[in-house]
């Protein structure tokens, strides 16, 4: 972990402590001793023996929450270090309030082996600012043909498997992946897309794609695969997680599956509860992403799915690209947007507009993804590693990509007026970020 400091001891005074794992929301102090949470309760009085070594931090007016977890990012290392590295990506993460990120396996080489997983974890240990949870591949080489070695991957530290970026088109392979992952109780994360239905599409299919003459990706391309994967999860009783849910129909399918007791969880990302396809009208490639930005009706459905608990987690699908991939004809530009340094204020926006309570918002950004990934994070309970995010919910500012720590600039929220930011971030009791 960087910077290489000894874990400190801190007491956060008078903050609004929001700890969804324990359903706590109220004014409290949080005491961190030697890298672990020692106590969370109102008005902690420190014994004389502690007073000299515990740093007092006034958190009044701030939220003190378990460190945020982004369960879906692309760190691009190994292989595309010009877009992002483990160092730059985790630096961006802590600036955005995150203390842990799950990184997708579509690197070069693909993370389909213990060797690559170990490489990522090793790099993260020496250069990373936050915790890194590698996600292994579902299929060897992401080729959609044979299973990757899940046992080896898990032993090396992988927390889940996914062919993210590429759908598993072969239904039998998906069935086998779910069955085999079940042996290890390993989570299978589905990038749900029927690539034959999306047929080389460039944006959501509908009036805007028709008008612009850009080939469309129908919502059905996402929904038929979610339906398939839900049915396979029911059959195999495996743990299925649906990545980047973007359409109203997808929300309805997952809602119904949960009602039937199927073991499925789901995430969405800020772009899907904030932006619509209309933004593509000027052919600006910063809005090119897969799944694509959809309609206002879909945005409303995603928000409703967040509000009623159908969607468990908010991730970013942080996907760095440079001008090499983006300053092109819309058709030739790469899909993807970065989000680590813009996600928190947009999540807080869901609280201000009444979609989520503060407890629900922090659950979707911390305890829920931690629980889905089964990583020991996401709570301020005593004895836990001190991964803490202090949020200033009042700070108003304009998102400016030029201040980002990410190596890439492809953020669609650049220039947006927002409210709320990370003020201080601790990982294992080490201050990894402190607002300037």
């Amino acid at each position: 972990m960087e910077p290489k400091e000894k874990s400190g001891s801190f007491i956060f005074r008078n903050g609004r402590v929001i700890d969804p794992a324990r359903k706590l929301d109220g004014p409290m102090d949080v005491l961190v001793l030697e890298g672990r949470i020692a106590e969370t309760r109102p008005q902690i009085s420190l014994g004389a023996e502690f007073r000299s070594e515990v740093q007092e931090i006034d958190a009044s007016g701030k939220w003190v929450v378990p460190g945020l977890i982004d369960m879906h990012v692309h760190l691009r290392e190994p292989g595309e270090e010009y877009k992002e590295t483990i160092r730059s990506g985790t630096h961006a993460a802590v600036c955005g309030g995150f203390t842990g990120v799950a990184c997708m396996p579509n690197t070069h080489p693909v993370n389909d082996s213990a060797t690559v997983t170990q490489y990522i974890l090793e790099k993260a240990r020496y250069e990373g600012f936050c915790r890194v949870f590698p996600v292994g591949a579902i299929s060897a080489g992401l080729e959609g043909k044979n299973l990757a070695e899940y046992g080896e991957l898990q032993a090396a530290g992988a927390v889940a498997v996914s062919d993210d970026g590429r759908p598993v088109m072969n239904g039998l392979l998906m069935r086998r992946a779910l069955e085999y992952a079940g042996t290890f109780e390993l989570l299978v994360i589905s990038h749900s897309e029927d690539s034959q239905l999306s047929a080389g599409g460039l944006m959501n299919e509908g009036p805007v794609s028709t008008r612009l003459g850009l080939r469309g990706i129908p919502a059905a391309a996402e929904e038929v695969m979610i339906a398939r994967d839900i049915i396979l999860a029911e059959m195999t009783r495996a743990r299925l997680h649906i990545a980047h849910v973007s359409s109203a129909g997808s929300v309805a399918l997952i809602r119904e599956a949960k009602k039937r007791g199927i073991n499925v969880t789901a995430e969405t990302a800020p772009q899907y509860f904030t932006l619509t396809e209309e933004l593509i009208a000027g052919f600006d490639t910063v809005y090119k992403v897969n799944p694509p930005l959809r309609t206002a009706r879909d945005v409303e459905a995603i928000r409703a799915g967040l509000a009623d608990g159908t969607i468990d987690a908010i991730a970013t699908d942080h996907a760095p690209h440079t001008s090499v991939e983006k300053d092109l004809e819309f058709e030739f530009a790469s899909n993807g947007m970065i989000g680590l340094e813009s996600s928190l204020p947009l999540i807080l926006g869901l609280v201000r507009d009444g979609t989520l309570t503060p407890l629900e918002a922090i659950a979707k950004a911390s305890s829920n993804p931690a629980g889905i990934l089964r990583v020991p994070c996401g709570s301020l309970r005593e004895g836990a590693a001190a991964d803490v995010t202090v949020i200033d919910p009042e700070a108003k500012y304009t998102i400016d990509v030029n201040t980002f720590r990410s190596k890439s600039r492809n953020c669609p929220f650049n220039g947006m007026r927002v409210q709320g930011r990370a003020e201080m971030v601790l990982v294992g009791g080490i201050v990894v970020f402190s607002a300037p």
């Binding site: 299919e205 009036p207 794609s209 028709t210 008008r211 850009l214 080939r215 092109l328």
Partner: protein
């Protein structure tokens, strides 16, 4: 009114008065094309670069003749987008050309929006000569001029566009232009080639020729690309031709003065029979003739010194 835009990227952006202005100017420029010495010095010293990333004979020649009849110097750069993806980017190509100080880029590209990307990065004017499935504004303008020549008006006419609407930039530009000018546009073809969203652009959709031909004042026939069979959009060209091909038999119930148009290139015997293409209702070659005049008008309006116009501010795009 004067035309104050830097670029001509699409018909959707244009006001009715701007379309009328271009059509009026085209009519007055037509006379030059009838002279024995077909050249005026209007754009002498101006440089027009044709940047064609997609094969084109008619449109490129038409723009080139138009520019040369106005005395502009013209240069053609042709290439395929596949080589572009591997090598120099579109923006780099354009920036290199811009360093040689051209006044106008005429751009044909297989990717929708490519001319818009260029227009944002160059001070020169950009004319969209067809981008992907998006727009082909000069084609729509020459279509409107041709229809007006034959019908004396655009307002209140029934225009039926037949064929592969989905993939057609000509159809999109024609829908925008003709509906703005008061025509009723009906799109006819199988549902695989006409997404229902076209109704939101102000067009009617009709799947059967027999239901729309009797009312038609104009029938615009679109080229059917042979690849559409492989894309599961059609069972066969044969069946398409039987159901949607425009033949004398299909025109039995048409109005006596119906005109038949086609943006070219034609697949004779597929979407249009030779008897119709060469028949008395066909105005297909008038379209080509008018293309030169319309492109002269567009080049004239964009390449003249904007600094000499009373107001050089660019109207904001409706996007």
């Amino acid at each position: 009114m004067s035309f104050k835009r830097k670029d001509l990227l699409g018909i959707r952006d244009l006001q009715v008065a701007e379309i009328e202005h271009i059509l009026d100017l085209s009519r007055s420029l037509k006379e030059i094309n009838a002279r024995s010495i077909k050249k005026v010095p209007t754009l002498r010293g101006k440089t027009v670069v044709h940047l064609f990333y997609e094969p084109s004979t008619r449109t490129r020649t038409s723009f080139d003749i138009a520019a040369k009849r106005l005395s502009a110097d013209t240069y053609s750069i042709t290439g395929s987008t596949s080589s572009m993806v591997k090598g120099e980017t579109l923006l780099d190509t354009m920036k290199n050309l811009e360093a040689m100080k051209p006044d106008v880029f005429v751009v044909r590209h297989s990717a929708s929006g490519a001319p818009h990307l260029l227009a944002q990065h160059t001070e020169a004017s950009v004319i969209n000569a067809g981008d992907g499935m998006h727009e082909h504004p000069s084609q729509a303008l020459l279509d409107m001029l041709t229809i007006h020549d034959h019908k004396g008006r655009l307002d209140g006419l029934n225009v039926v566009i037949v064929g592969d609407i989905y993939h057609s930039r000509v159809a999109r530009s024609d829908i925008y232009g003709l509906t703005k000018m008061g025509s009723q546009v009906t799109l006819c073809g199988p549902p695989t080639l006409i997404p229902p969203d076209f109704e939101l652009m102000g067009a009617r959709v009709c799947n059967h020729l027999k239901d729309c031909i009797p009312e038609a004042d104009v029938i615009m026939v679109l080229r059917l690309q042979k690849e559409r069979q492989q894309q599961m959009l059609l069972p066969s060209l044969r069946e398409y031709s039987i159901i949607y091909g425009i033949s004398p038999a299909k025109l039995k119930n048409a109005k006596d003065d119906v005109i038949i148009m086609h943006p070219g290139p034609m697949n004779r015997g597929v979407e249009i029979s030779p008897e119709v293409a060469d028949g008395p209702h066909s105005v297909i070659l008038d379209q080509v003739t008018n293309g030169v005049a319309v492109r002269m008008a567009v080049l004239y309006l964009l390449a003249q010194d904007r600094s000499s116009l009373p107001d050089i501010s660019r109207p904001s795009s409706p996007e």
